[in-house]
Symmetry: C2
Subunit: 394 residues, 2 copies
């Protein structure tokens, strides 16, 4: 893995005995000099304790650390769960020498089991001692069923030269957006770190805008987590972003992280961009793209590399959005497999089958000549998903 | 299989070479003396040609035959598909000596391929010749990925003594209701035949009422078909139903057919009734029960016989219905695995695991003390579903 650094942040990842199968499971991001912060969180009514506490603490707009454990979600754990989130951030805050209110907690793993706070307390000093400018161990410590760490980096212009935006995410299952009143919802743990300078309100606006078309437009299994959290922190070591520069960088990094999560979907072999065009509005196109992207029959056909366009069209037809099926055109890669709502023949399907061998490809479903357009990222669903989820807790 | 008969109806099922793998694939129900009829159909915008034609013809309120083929859905086939539905009902009408407008077409199978009308024409005479009072061959000829035929029978009181209600259904995949404005949607091919006497409008009202809590409350994979059709035919050989008797019989037969379809869900090993209670209204309870029943994480946990109640609660939390997670109680069979939103311990989970070995069992998710209550039938999702659907067309 390439090593990425971003000025003003240190990282650590260690094994604290939280995961049943062992391995790195406790991570820390430290911004000892302080950072402005913004966050978006799951809209699931069942919110894990760390989400509640993290959401509260983010309101202050400043943070000095993010404490993440994998292997245990600390969700459905009631008041003892909240206390566990407070206690573990307290003990790490002491080791770091910062105010506990500036330590943001995140958890991911099994639901309904109490967090082993004692193990985290015992490892707090080692965790702080492990801090370094390199994010490698941290990016591994936050993983659960993920097969690979997800780290993306870019640069953008500020008033004082180039700044970096580093994105680190985990997410492979229980991943699906659920928009409420236009507010985006984070669908994974994702940390976006920049050395640029920006007030927390600007960070919040930029984060919401970017999430809506990236994190909120990807799905592995349609299940929205109790623990989804996206945090954007700015250390302020560089200048203020040039107009639109931070937004563009966020869009790029969040889009790639979302694609990596779909690519790493539990058991998945492909990530697929489903683009719906020709509807009356982007919102309608989004609705249809979401239904297609979460259709089990579509996802199993993607797994089987079967250009079964009838399933794509049937899924579109149940999305509750008006269109004329007789005008439908479906392209898999460049292969036009359906025109005017009907099959185009075996040659196009053979070309589509070839496209569907790729790790990443696109499908375009055109349903009219309206201006509405949206792209949603999904993955195939096969035996690996069943294997991971039929016995996750055992 | 027990042989069922119902006065005024004859049945046939033969092999016409429509299914790639061979076997019975052409079925006929004949009511040569005529029958009153009502139907409910898929609300999918992408409607198969036979659904369009069947819907039109049902409006007359009378029918003399139902022609069903399996192996080809005649969906996404444009005007040639409509012509194929007209042609095949025409040729069978001729063989039967009835008006083609009184022959109702249904198809189920692969989407996007033209119906082999010539094969059906060649077999029309043999199909009519095979008619007999026994439904066994018909109930097999309509199957696709089903592992077993679905036939349910009951009796009810009429003004002239007992009448029979016979239900015959197919359905294992692409099964999911999609209610629109309170109108129920059929989610499979299902034929309900009675020898009682009733006008078509009374049949329609009774069918809609029964479908809403039975067919429309079961799901295999969340995918609504392009071909769903439920027909209720009454030959009138017996008297008029006593008050409420037909409704009760329909409720019983449709509920059992829905449960059989969930039980026969592609690759499924369990059918599970998910009952949600304690919400403000039945509609809210239905919404939550539907989301839980179609959650991939829930369905794979059912497959793994894992009493992972956190997934049930997390699915409820994303349903868009208000409740207090801290009051949630979850029972698997009689085992209380979650109380006040938290785990009750390993003993209850062990008892729940024992319950989850059964072919059929119930789960109750209680989310408050409101009067709202709804039961939805689902099934587990495992490797069999992937096997069936990753290579369905090959």
């Amino acid at each position: 893995m390439t090593t990425y650094q971003v000025d003003g942040f240190e990282f650590a990842g260690i094994a604290a005995g939280i995961k049943k199968r062992g391995g790195l499971d406790l991570g820390l991001i430290a911004a000892r000099g302080g950072a402005k912060v913004a966050g978006v969180f799951t809209q699931n009514l069942v919110r894990a304790a760390p989400v509640t506490l993290c959401h509260q603490r983010v309101q202050a707009g400043e943070a000095r650390a993010v404490l993440v454990n994998s292997g245990n979600a600390n969700a459905c754990t009631g008041e003892p769960g909240l206390q566990a989130a407070r206690d573990t951030t307290q003990v790490v805050a002491s080791a770091l020498g910062v105010d506990p209110a500036q330590v943001l907690p995140c958890s991911t793993g099994v639901i309904g089991q109490l967090l082993p706070t004692q193990r985290i307390a015992e490892h707090a000093a080692a965790l702080v001692q492990a801090l370094s400018p390199e994010a490698d161990a941290f990016s591994e410590a936050i993983l659960t069923t993920d097969r690979f760490p997800k780290v993306v980096s870019t640069t953008f212009d500020t008033t004082l030269g180039p700044a970096r935006l580093l994105g680190i995410a985990k997410g492979a299952g229980m991943i699906h957006p659920q928009l409420m009143d236009g507010l985006p919802q984070a669908t994974m743990l994702s940390y976006l770190l920049t050395d640029a300078q920006a007030p927390s309100e600007a960070l919040r606006r930029a984060l919401i805008a970017a999430s809506k078309h990236t994190f909120d437009a990807c799905s592995v299994d349609g299940d929205t987590s109790t623990n989804d959290t996206v945090l954007l922190l700015a250390s302020g070591r560089r200048g203020e972003p040039r107009a639109g520069a931070l937004e563009a960088a966020l869009d790029e990094v969040c889009r790639e992280l979302a694609r990596l999560m779909a690519r790493d979907g539990e058991g998945a072999e492909h990530s697929v961009d489903i683009t719906v065009t020709g509807l009356a509005s982007d919102a309608e196109a989004r609705q249809v793209a979401t239904v297609i992207s979460t259709s089990l029959l579509v996802k199993t056909a993607l797994f089987g590399r079967d250009p079964n366009w009838g399933r794509l069209l049937a899924a579109a037809g149940r999305a509750g959005v008006p269109f004329d099926p007789a005008r439908a055109r479906i392209q898999i890669g460049e292969a036009l497999v359906c025109d005017q709502g009907m099959a185009t023949g075996g040659d196009a399907e053979a070309r589509a089958t070839a496209v569907m061998q790729a790790e990443h490809y696109g499908i375009t479903v055109s349903l009219g000549d309206g201006p509405g357009r949206f792209t949603y990222t999904t993955c195939d669903l096969g035996h690996g998903y069943v294997d991971v989820n039929a016995g996750y807790r055992s």
